[in-house]
Amino acid sequence: MNENQPLLQVQNLKKYFQTPSGTLHAVDDVTFDLYTGKTLGVVGESGCGKSTMGRAILRLQEPTAGKVLFDGVDVTACDKRELKKLREQMQIIFQDPFASINPRMTVSQTIMEPLIIQNKIDKHDRTGLEKKALEIMDLVGLAPRLVNSYPHELDGGRRQRIGIGRALALNPKFIVCDEPVSALDVSIQAQILNLMQDVQKQMGLTYLFITHDLSVVKHFSDEILVMYLGQMVEKCGAKQLFAKPMHPYTQALLSAIPVPDPHVRMQKIPLKGELSSPINPPVGCRFAKRCPYACEACSEAAVPLRELEPGHFVACIKAGELPV
């Protein structure tokens, strides 16, 4: 593989749903590149389409339009057989460690399941299976005595380790992490984040890290993409985003994070109203209705993503002129 070629290229990805009240624009025209070994954080509030985007990239949901190139192969054009082969290299870790594991399977069965489905291992070779399972359990920090436990006997942190082990079993290149730590307690969250960082280094993984927690995403990502109602509003390096947010939505979002330090009083940028619905959205900027800087031009035409600084993309006509 060419080093300079991105591992994942997402081009104009769209996912619409037909609902009784109109077309829901869950993901609208998302484009980005992701290089091997890097982490792209995707942040946004509930309903902004970040999870749908992750699933559309993996074709767990069929994209409405757009292209997803993985290692140069167009995922959206694959047939069933090619897709099954691709799934070896693209995996997903889910948010809910309770719902994402089959309650009828033991830890080792769950972790071995992808290898069996992909015919990577002889499913009748019991010792071989157990050996491999123990290897992966060791990798994700699960004690060997849990090998035959059932998920309902384990706590959230351990279950999430099973989920990670399952995703790693096939030795993938790319993992979509859909809010992997949101359901966990603070002290366990740090354990899991460290684990994910360790295996990333060890195995050269590329992550698409979806979350609503901005402090986690800053710690974890190289680049961050901010979404609002299905659209990208800003994308740049993680440090840059926090140092110099340019889109008014990003600014408001960052200012709303409660700082765990009582000496720092937050300077909140008040936002009008709440998230509007992504069903039949208006033509112009979708944030215009809540934006403190909105003018008429904002709601007249679609706002293109502009590169204002090298690697810093913003979808706002006033970006650059606004105070930071």
Binding site: R87, F94, E153
Partner: protein
Amino acid sequence: MKKQAAAASGKARSLGADAWYRFKKNRLAVISLIFLCLMIVIAFSTFIIDWATDSSFYDAKVIAQDLRRRLEPPSWEHPFGLDEFGRDMLLRIIWGARYSLFMGMAAVFGATLLGGFLGAISGYYKTADGIIMRVMDILLAVPTILLATAIVAAFGTSKVNLIMAILISQTPTFARVVRASVLTVKEQEYIEAAKAMGASDMHIIIKYIIPNSLSPLIVQCTMSVASAILSIASLSFIGLGIQAPMPEWGAMLSNARTYIRDSWHITVIPGAAIMVTILMLNIIGDGLRDALDPRLKN
């Protein structure tokens, strides 16, 4: 929380084992289960006796009439008394158990397979859902007894037809139960996880959907055996089921009703046999439902 401790000590308990552990705590359900198993063993032993004696015991004791001693009330010699043809009621109840129990079970077993299959298909594939479920709705709209009556009337009274009639009338219930449960399971994230691994539809149905939709099916089975037994008894009562002189409980009840004023025992005993069996099945069903209810997990 103790479960976590159990896991820590290396003893794994599957969901099934866990449910059994909870079921065992329900004393009434356990007693019912023991009693029902006993009944099944006794009913089964009648086949062995018939086979070993070449039905001579059956002919001499269960079928042969002794009109001199008809309607004799319960005594030490005949604890359940004698019926209107002077036959021992206890033996007739025992021999009758096999019709009620085994035919009921056979019908429910068939209905589970057929209904389960149809329900799983319509739950998993949206396209088949409309057609299958409308057919099931039509079947459900006809009262069970009426449907069974129609089938038996059309194809004649035989044991196979009786089983088929009850099987068909029970199928829609199973299809509904399984469909609902498949629809819930289908939305779970672990199904999506399996898809992300590249699992085929068949693999997902067999390894993920079926094992996780079994609980309501098991409960429905127990309850349905009870209603199947009632249907068999009812059909026999109106003369469309098991024919005389075979000792079926419903048929016994039907024949006895002429003598209800003078000899209480020949109506009460088969009636009580039906009632007790159904009560036990329902208690077991309730116990299973409580034991398998996911809300009690954790």
